[in-house]
Symmetry: C2
Amino acid sequence: MISSRLTIALDIMGGDNGPHVTLPAAVKALQQNSNLFVILCGDENIIGDMLGELDPDLTSRIEIQHCSEHVAMDELPSHALRNKKDSSMRRALERVECGDADACVSAGNTGALLAMAYHVLKTISGIDRPALVSALPTEGHHKLFLLDLGANVNCDSETLFQYAVMGSVLAEEVTGVSFPRVALLNVGEEQIKGNDQVKFTAKLLQDAPGINYTGFVEGNDIFTNCADVVVTDGFVGNIALKACEGLAKLVLEEAKRVSNQNLMTKILAKIALPLLRKIYLRVNPDQYNGASLIGLRGIVVKSHGNASSDAFLYAIKEALQEVHRQVPQKIKDKIESVLMERS
Amino acid sequence: MISSRLTIALDIMGGDNGPHVTLPAAVKALQQNSNLFVILCGDENIIGDMLGELDPDLTSRIEIQHCSEHVAMDELPSHALRNKKDSSMRRALERVECGDADACVSAGNTGALLAMAYHVLKTISGIDRPALVSALPTEGHHKLFLLDLGANVNCDSETLFQYAVMGSVLAEEVTGVSFPRVALLNVGEEQIKGNDQVKFTAKLLQDAPGINYTGFVEGNDIFTNCADVVVTDGFVGNIALKACEGLAKLVLEEAKRVSNQNLMTKILAKIALPLLRKIYLRVNPDQYNGASLIGLRGIVVKSHGNASSDAFLYAIKEALQEVHRQVPQKIKDKIESVLMERS
């Protein structure tokens, strides 16, 4: 599919299970994409031991960059930013910044990744703050991009407006939908509903050229085919997505619990559980799909901290897609044209 | 259980299905509570026709208050407040205000109910704005009170502080937990996390006498036994709860969809669906439990717009509980003592 050589820098030490998850995913990605080259950032001894003997074709497409440190999952972002100059996370980002890699993937500490990516890569001109975005599954296997999922918890209307522009570009480039529908998350669909921030953002979007703004949507709409992009601030987006994660977990636990009640429900639950787990995976987008950090002068994909190898592989594929679609360049073009027409 | 006579005013015309849902629930409530008296607010012809012949004991505990209007489900709250003076919703609230009824239950238009209740009943001294609160189910069948669910979308820290006090009283009175754990909803548990509003509220709560403030919790924690009360503003609370509603619906739809794939999944899904529906009901608190409007000088319980008769009956029972526990008086006492100790 993708013809020219692509290079992805991987934070091998990031995530709850580090190289146990990231390395098998890297190897699989190389096997599946003959034009892929990977830079494995992490402890060279661990990586060397765990990789073992590989096919020479794969070995020729691997560079190991030794890093003496890694960012802990519970480390303060400010501490990581100041002190972890030789961490696998930071080095992976730097390889994108200097042009060696086309994108970076990490399953590490989200706050630290946000802080480091912002510091190392900088934002695209016209974009104040990066956003975390993920594609949620909706009815009919449609994709809905929700942002921000927690990169920026103090958003003003101008930032939300920029998020709408970025989301629109991402949806168009990744899913191929032309002129994607962009909606604002609110407590009701009527124009009079909502807080001041969302009402003012609506005004900005109504007047914006080149954005297909369709109005307000409610919380329950994010799992329907109500829009292609739903914009909210990082505080609301993070809490809404995590609440869904909590509910999905409760449903699974509840099914397990009732399975202990009597023989009949035990049998029923045993049969229902695999189905529930399958559904749970599909509706738990954060865990399954990873999230993209957009608005930066480089591509960064965040895989979930407790991602499986399959999920980390999916995050690598997502990064490849974004490279192929030149998402940062497209965002730059779009924001320039929107800002020019507004002024 | 409850010995003295209790009177509940019911908005019979409210909700998607009006008297078809509310009347059977009213009759059941009378049958189950021999000391209950109900004021049925609505169209007397419809109510008379639908009630039909009843046991004289029940008839003697029913008053029908004819109302010439009702508030439409999609009516603007400001319009309803100005124009629907003889609506079933408004009359029910007025019967609480003048002391004829101990509480009011409505499944009608939430925005209109909020506006009318605020206007007719007024807030308790020391409380700026009422809040919508509902008990969520969590692991181990524990109850967690989440507020605000959308009464107030522009909250400042002082309002969130008052919500914490009210939630604490409600949890203590309804569930009997002494010194209930009160947490603030945030994007992380560390003190440095969150937006300015939540950080400042945390400071107010840390210093508050008589409130068992336990810190920040994340979105996924609201379905665990992390706290007895979780406080957030109405914008976040509404969106988080509705997102969960949307996810629960998607899970059900997904189970139905896979049931059409092949014979085996068809059988599996057929077996799993009743279990899923049962779980769905339990984890869809808004629909099942209704929500209380607290902070007012009277008790108002909001049942879901598309509540079933069972759900509306549950809302009546919730109102009876709050009457029995004298929740508004307890909130008044608590906020007075907290404010006195603070000053």
